[in-house]
């Protein structure tokens, strides 16, 4: 199929949304949590989300952070709900695979911290590649 002629490039407007103080703080926190460069994270958000989801992200992120506190391990440390539902960086199926991998590592004798780091590494690769 051909692309419609009236499609606009929304990148600059999406960037303007992410420049706001609350958005900027959120991007920095997520980037630090997942170990992704901030610029890369912004680009990923702009590519994947429409303008309205971007506008609503800080509210969703705050809500997701609250729900993260009540989640069981290792979902809490990994931010399974936060990064699939509140801020949908990766799909549910992919997160389920990562989560299964982390649980298997823990069952295999790896420490919880190490297994979660490896899980976050896989999320990071999803975002960077």
């Amino acid at each position: 199929m051909k692309e419609p002629l009236y499609e606009k490039d929304l990148i600059s407007m999406k960037y303007a949304i992410l420049e706001s103080r609350r958005h900027d703080r959120m991007v920095r926190e997520i980037a630090a949590d997942l170990g992704v460069p901030q610029l890369r994270m912004r680009r990923y958000l702009m590519d994947r989300f429409d303008m309205l989801l971007l506008e609503n992200l800080p509210a969703r992120y705050e809500q997701g952070k609250m729900m993260r506190q009540d989640a069981p391990e290792p979902e809490r440390q990994l931010g399974a709900h936060l990064y699939t539902h509140a801020v949908p960086l990766i799909g549910e199926e992919r997160m389920a695979q990562i989560l299964t991998g982390v649980k298997e590592m823990v069952r295999g004798g790896t420490s919880m911290g190490q297994a979660v780091l490896s899980g976050k590494d896989r999320i990071r690769k999803e975002i960077i590649t």
Partner: protein, 362 residues
């Protein structure tokens, strides 16, 4: 991002049923809507940037210009945030007058939202009745505050004008007429068979989806989330023993009915305020100072939050405004519109969430 899909149908940015421009791109299979994406940027004001660095005396006027429909609550939340920063007390009479004006504003906003919905489903008769009723509410707002839209009625430590006894009597008489009319319109809406065809079971937002999208206001309360009403946390409303309205259906019908019920609730709240209005000053005084706060209030469309940082002179150093429409339009486009069986239901479902693009593109 540019994407190629099978059939992408744009609705808007200019649409006869929408009050403001926004473009909803629907990806469809036949009549079924698979997903929807929103494009904004047709009326961006950049008002937060304009506010930054200005004294509060200027920002309070800018705040109510964020939205022309719910200007009173922007004024109220900004001023109450300043009062919380600076520990300014409000006299009881002024606090109740704020509730009266805020509820009148909510009534006109809800009636306008329901008019838009009726117009969208082509029930113009009820729509015009509602517009006529809204004018009566606007007249009362003008009588009390001196203006219809940008009232600037609420100031730090109180309100600008007192309620005269003849205005109170006029307001009571108007409320009686409004209650009678709104009850009649609710009957028309509730029992209209064609309205039910276009409204019941359409654009469903489940309780879980509403929670996930952080939906607020009547949109959330129509999906059973009564606790989202910020008036529950407001001290004056707590004194008035406020209890929120909610429904469980989560469809277009429920959202409109919640607004109708809230109009009746606002009438009851204003009556209670008039009955209990004590004599006394309407301005307590006080000067806004330095501080930082995140403060929320219940706008007609839901939770409105101001994040403010001020200096010792009351100058606004940083400000961020989170308007309810941001959450509600997102809930509408990413949850309600997904799976809508007919494209004809897209505008009505969109309008049922009472989208305010002026708020969203503040």
């Amino acid at each position: 991002m540019k994407r190629t899909v099978d059939v992408s149908i744009p609705v808007g940015p200019v649409h006869p049923c929408w009050k403001e421009p926004a473009r909803v791109k629907c990806e469809t299979r036949g009549e079924l809507v698979l997903s929807a994406e929103v494009e904004l940027g047709y009326m961006k004001k950049g008002i937060e940037r304009i506010m930054r660095g200005r004294p509060w005396q200027e920002v309070m006027f800018l705040a109510e210009r964020v939205c022309g429909i719910c200007s009173v609550i922007h004024n109220m939340v900004f001023i109450e945030a300043l009062e919380h920063i600076s520990g300014i007390e409000v006299p009881e009479r002024a606090a109740l007058l704020r509730v009266i004006v805020n509820e009148l504003d909510r009534m006109q906003s809800h009636i306008l939202a329901n008019f838009s919905y009726c117009y969208t489903i082509e029930h113009e008769t009820l729509g015009m009745y509602l517009l006529d009723t809204r004018e009566k509410v606007m007249d009362e707002l003008e009588r009390i505050t001196g203006a219809r839209v940008t009232c600037a009625y609420i100031v730090p430590g109180g309100v600008r004008f007192d309620l005269r006894s003849e205005d109170a009597l006029h307001l009571r008489a108007s409320l009686d007429a409004l209650e009678q009319n709104i009850t009649r319109y609710i009957g028309m809406f509730e029992h209209g068979p064609l309205i039910a065809l276009r409204s019941r079971g359409i654009g469903i937002l489940t309780r879980d989806a509403a929670r996930e999208a952080c939906a607020v206001g009547p949109t959330a309360r129509a999906s059973g989330l009564a606790e989202t009403d910020r008036r529950l946390m407001h001290p004056t409303y707590q004194k008035l023993r406020f209890t929120p309205v909610s429904r469980e259906e989560g469809d277009n019908f429920a959202r409109i009915m919640v607004r109708f019920q809230e109009v009746l609730q606002s009438i009851a709240l204003i009556r209670t305020c008039l009955d209990t209005l004590p004599e006394g000053p309407i301005r307590g005084g006080g000067i806004p100072g330095a501080g930082e706060i995140a403060y929320s209030g219940e706008a007609p469309r839901g939770e409105l939050s101001y994040f403010i940082k001020t200096d010792a002179a009351g100058r606004v150093l940083e400000i961020s405004i989170q308007t309810p429409s941001i959450m509600n339009i997102e809930a509408c486009c990413h949850y309600m519109l997904k799976g809508v069986a007919s494209l004809a239901d897209v505008p009505s479902t969109f309008v049922s969430s009472d989208p305010c693009i002026a708020c969203t593109e503040r």
